[in-house]
């Protein structure tokens, strides 16, 4: 275990140190202490290592992550795991706006609640939220899976493409072109795996599935709301 004191050594040194780790690194386990809500912690990682952040983070923690597992032992500010490509990001507390925005792959697990625009424009990432999510989540979500064990706010899945949304609680309202869809056996199977990966003990049968009605896929003047 390598320990890095962010308050003492600074952000640039932290990210440079983590970027220097390659696929064959022996230093596979890192602990970052004194994060104190700093922005851009552990961004752009590209090695199979585990990074434990001992506290809460500011904007864009684990942005564009590849391969690494980043575990925030606190809450995360806006844009956590934005544009993640692969790997895993775990937030013990809550996540602010845009969690997992435009993520292309990997898994984002939020054990608390997520704020608005969770999974906005997601492109393949899997996001599992133990609590609730805010309004405009999964806006223009292209692909991947968003699992919400609690409730979803207004306009869920507005202008959705091919991402799959699973919500156990209430959905305050659905966005344009987002509809409830049948939970078929393959979806139960998929959700079972996602819940296990996210460490949730919820039952897949308690969820509803939402997806695109695909009515906005080709331009018509009436598409302009």
């Amino acid at each position: 275990m390598q320990t890095f004191d962010l308050a003492a050594e600074g952000l640039r040194k932290l990210n440079a140190t983590l970027h220097a780790q390659t696929a064959s690194t022996n230093q596979t386990s890192w602990e970052i202490v004194n994060p104190k809500g700093s922005h851009a912690i552990a961004v752009g990682l590209d090695a199979p290592m585990e990074v434990n952040v001992k506290g809460s983070t500011g904007y864009y923690c684990a942005g564009m992550n590849k391969q690494a597992t980043v575990h925030v032992h606190g809450s995360a500010g806006p844009g956590v795991a934005e544009n993640m490509m692969s790997g895993t990001v775990i937030i013990d507390g809550d996540a602010s706006q845009y969690a997992g925005a435009t993520g292309h792959g990997g898994t984002l697990i939020i054990k608390g609640n997520a704020s608005s625009r969770c999974g906005i424009s997601m492109k393949g990432i899997d996001i599992i939220v133990h609590g609730n999510i805010g309004h405009m989540s999964a806006f223009m979500a292209q692909s991947g899976n968003l699992v919400v064990c609690g409730d979803a706010g207004d306009a869920l899945g507005d202008s959705l493409y091919e991402a799959r949304l699973f919500v156990r609680g209430n959905v305050k309202s659905l966005g344009a072109d987002c509809i409830e869809k049948e939970m078929r056996p393959e979806h139960i199977e998929l959700l079972t795996e996602l819940l296990a990966r996210g460490g949730c003990d919820a039952k897949p049968e308690e969820f509803k599935r939402y997806g695109s009605a695909r009515q906005l896929y080709n331009f018509k003047p009436d598409n302009a709301y």
């Binding site: 922005h39 752009g44 942005g63 806006p78 292209q142 202008s159």
Partner: protein, 467 residues
Amino acid sequence: MARPGSCIISNLTTLTESAQMKDINKSAPRTMPIQSATFSQSINAEIRRAAATGIYDIRGGGAKRKVPHFDDLLFLGASISRYPLEGYRERCDTSVTLGTRYAQNPITLDIPITIAGMSFGALSGPAKEALGRGATAAGTSTTTGDGGMTPEERGHSKKLVYQYLPSRYGMNPDDLRRADAIEVVVGQGAKPGGGGMLLGQKISDRVAEMRNLPKGIDQRSACRHPDWTGPDDLEIKILELREITSWKVPIYIKVGGARPYFDTTLAVKAGADVVVLDGMQGGTAATQDVFIEHVGQPILACIREAVRALQDMGMHREVQLIVSGGIRTGADVAKCMALGADAVAIGTAALIALGDNDPRWEDEYQMLGTTAGAYDDWHEGRDPAGITTQDPDLMARFDPIEGGRRLNNYLKVMTLEAQTIARACGKSHLHNLEPEDLCAVTLEAAAMAKVPLAGTDWWPGKKGDSF
């Protein structure tokens, strides 16, 4: 009471007079048919088209309306009070270095004319390759666009700027690190405040794969970024991008010509190395015609305001300014330099150099209901020149090597023209051109460029003067 017979005679007389009057009217001066300036033929045609279809017009390109432009400015040249440089032999440098504020590796270009961002998807792969070939041969940079970075573009572009757009189509950290600079696109001149749309006709398997979307569906590009909303957020976003790229490459911020003073100020505050300012004549792959023609300002009106913002912060020349939107000639380049820009970007002009809207394809333009020079339905993917298309047969018409050669030639000519003017003004570098070298031939241009109306020492809004 009149007798019946007299009434008949009277009627005959009236008929005769009427015939005579008709003859007279034929030769009499009469009112010409007057077309309304308000309801012009093109406006009426658009009303009829809208009434028939219920669909607003989407097209590519920039504003086609006539606006005050660089043609409304003139260089004064040297005279007794100014000493010219010899036209061919004395040195007149053209290089520019971009990204000197924070980046470890600023970009140095041989010429101050860059290629603006145009996406793979909107353009074919060979067209992107040609842009890279031509720009590299001329010693300048090219720019990706919405849709990500293609290997042929990276491979043929010695200096490649990677656009960071709201859609984040194809965005990944590997390409980010392969780029020579990053351009955070906040807006563009054709549609400040607007997003984009790539229609399904142009979504080939390859385009779809790069954008993580099914083939054949229309792809929207959002009008604002998904993970930041204001200038304070943008500052943090730039911090993240710098950390991911280890502070090596310059970060540009591109804005449309909306509020150039404030947008430039905020871009600098957010940490930009370079501000890219795009006027309303700047092109787009596709958006609503009403947006292109009615939102944003002409580039002429933007440059001095952006320079003023930089000067007010003490950042002029420390944060470089690239301007674009309707730049066509070396004279335009020189005028931008004189107004305070560090470099320019061309898009539409580069496409024309490649062969877009070439009269050789006139028969096919006619079949598409248009004519060479007016073709702007780039989003439909049926470009006869094979540039703005993903159709394999049309793409095969375009030779990227020949396209690159033509673009290089064009960039060389523009540079030589700009040097010719600079030497005539006594300047040993294009950047030494200054507003004092210019006058304006219209009041509007004088006001926008803040240079004197020709024959006067005055421009509207000049400090200390009033109407």
